[in-house]
């Protein structure tokens, strides 16, 4: 499913004196198959935008298509139809909020993950539900038989987050949107979670992944395209390499990944590196460059 946003605007508390325009016309296309990054300062509109993607926020102005779903409510469409559309949409677009483990609520991991299936597919048999839950828990790298009857609160931080993600994967979404997926995890937990997302993406279990992140190293390491949000607009949509090579105010406030920073400094003394800013490629490129000079 391709996501196409054109001139998307949104104002909080539109009717009130203290209204605030969070989106000022977002033009952005996310292709099916993208591992897409969204970056920008706090208050730049990132969260408001992603909440549109599964209809948590209703389109106020402009247009937004997610696959065949037109998210801007039309006059012809009744409330009932719109609601029906939202339900179908939410099963295709999974949303993982910041610190999703805070939303675990059931007594067992099984019940928590099963909530999603029961909600979307109320007619499924118990057997089928169990099959799907087991599959989702297995996908996030947890041992189904070990964790199914545990309280979610007995799991470690990284495991809790995985369980929360399993609760989204269980409805088999095509698009997975994650807001700061690795925030608050230790370095090893971060690595594991990112590699889980890559596995889901590479195997086609989830076709498109969208992550919001403040960590530029994370962005340069993981995404193929990135949008920079600033003042309620997507001011740049490009590859991470392009984003971190251009020098201007909106991107320099973000900070640079280590690789891009070092490349920039080397460039100033006449050494040009051609690699993207992924750490392993950057190292290879530097080694090659060095061998050429000696």
């Amino acid at each position: 499913m391709q996501i196409i946003s054109k001139g998307l605007t949104f104002t909080y508390n539109r009717e009130a004196d203290f209204h605030r325009q969070a989106l000022q016309g977002v033009d952005l296309t996310i292709n099916e198959g993208d591992f897409f990054g969204i970056v920008g300062e706090t208050g730049s509109g990132k969260s408001t935008f992603i909440q549109h993607l599964n209809g948590l926020i209703k389109v106020q102005g402009g247009s937004l298509w997610v696959g065949d779903f037109n998210l801007a409510p039309t006059d012809k469409q009744g409330k009932k139809q719109y609601k029906k559309m939202l339900k179908q949409l939410r099963h295709k677009v999974g949303m993982v909020f910041q610190y999703p483990e805070y939303q675990l609520f059931a007594e067992t991991v099984f019940e928590d993950v099963a909530f999603g299936v029961k909600n979307f597919f109320p007619t499924l048999s118990d057997e089928e539900i169990e099959k799907r839950v087991a599959k989702a828990i297995d996908l996030v790298g947890l041992d189904y038989n070990k964790v199914k009857n545990k309280s979610p609160f007995e799991l470690s931080g990284g495991q809790k987050r995985r369980a929360a993600i399993a609760g989204i994967l269980v409805s088999e979404p095509e698009v997975l949107v994650l807001d700061e997926p690795v925030a608050g995890l230790d370095p090893v937990g971060k690595k594991r979670l990112m590699s889980l997302l890559h596995t889901l993406h590479d195997t086609g279990i989830v076709k498109t992944i969208v992550i919001v992140s403040h960590d530029m190293d994370e962005i340069s390491e993981n995404v193929n395209r990135v949008a920079l949000f600033c003042g309620g607009r997507a001011v740049k949509v490009c590859t991470p390499k392009e984003l971190f090579s251009q020098k201007d105010e909106s991107s320099s406030r973000l900070g640079l990944p280590v690789t891009a920073y070092v490349s920039e400094k080397l460039n100033e003394v006449g050494v040009e590196l051609s690699s993207d800013f992924k750490t392993e490629n950057f190292i290879k490129d530097l080694v090659k460059k060095y061998k050429e000079t000696v």
Binding site: E41, P187, G189, Y261, K265, T279, I283
Partner: protein
């Protein structure tokens, strides 16, 4: 003088046989900056709560400026001398207006109102937020909210400041704001304990402690600890610049690979290529 002495402390929560902290000993000098690293669930937050007496050890003792946290008569004094700032900028605000929020601590302690006014000004100045005295807390950015949380702790005039993953939810600018405030406070004599998952933040400290399964596994200067391959066993990882430098050296680049910041890595590489 020792600000904190943790002596053979073991702690388990009620109804649980598994200790969260195991026979841990550690001391912090007055004015020292200690960073605590460790994987999720390693006991870092529990340790911080043992220091200000929110939790009491199951075995062993915790002394804060010589006062034992077990001594109920001293609880008040200990809590006053240990300020805590937590992770989430959105649930540490009590009042709607910044100055009222900062006044909450000293008001609770019965500080006279003209003195409270002075403390608010001092606290806001310490975190570079003087201009926001009358502003509604909800209008602030994450970094600003965390600085107000620090100001709230400072208004009680603590001698020790504990920050429990206080930068985890901030964007890079917000993180920088908060870290620079912490550095300045430490320079002016505040004892600081910073709990974090960011390896680069550990570089700011005098001393780094690594916790795993409730035990103190490593203790040393930031560069000693961050270059120790054992950290990988404890859920941690090398800072990225150090990792890159090590890889380059392994591949035959004659550089000083003992670098921990992107600035130092860039400098080493520029030197190398300019020579050639």
């Amino acid at each position: 003088m020792k600000a904190i002495e943790i002596k053979n402390v073991t702690f388990n929560y009620e109804n649980s046989k598994i200790p969260v902290i195991k026979d841990l000993s550690l001391s912090v000098d007055k004015g020292e900056f200690l960073c605590i690293l460790g994987e999720n669930g390693s006991g870092k937050s529990t340790l911080s709560r043992l220091i200000n007496g929110l939790l009491l050890p199951s075995q062993g003792d915790v002394l804060v400026f010589g006062l034992n946290t077990r001594d109920k008569a001293k609880t008040y004094e200990i809590r006053k001398s240990v300020g805590m700032v937590f992770q989430n900028p959105d649930n540490q605000m009590i009042a709607t207006i910044v100055e009222d929020d900062i006044a909450f601590g000293p008001e609770n302690l019965g500080v006279p109102s003209d003195e409270i006014g002075k403390r608010i000004d001092f606290a806001l100045k310490s975190v570079n937020m003087e201009r926001y005295k009358k502003v509604a807390g909800q209008k602030l950015s994450g970094g600003q909210k965390q600085r107000i949380a620090i100001a709230g702790a400072l208004a009680v005039m603590p001698e020790i400041l504990i920050l429990d993953e206080s930068t985890a939810m901030l964007d890079p600018l917000g993180r920088e704001e908060v870290l620079s405030v912490i550095k300045d406070l430490n320079k002016s004599g505040m004892t600081v304990i910073l709990i974090t998952h960011y390896m680069d933040e550990a570089l700011l400290a005098d001393k780094v402690a690594v916790l795993s399964s409730g035990e103190l596994k490593l203790l040393g200067t930031p560069t000693e600890v961050l270059s120790n391959p054992q950290i990988k066993n404890y859920g941690l990882d090398y800072p990225r610049p150090y990792y890159i430098a090590q890889k380059l050296k392994e591949n035959g680049l004659p550089i000083n690979a003992n670098v921990f910041t992107k600035e130092d890595l860039a400098e080493e590489l520029c030197k190398l290529f300019q020579k050639g």
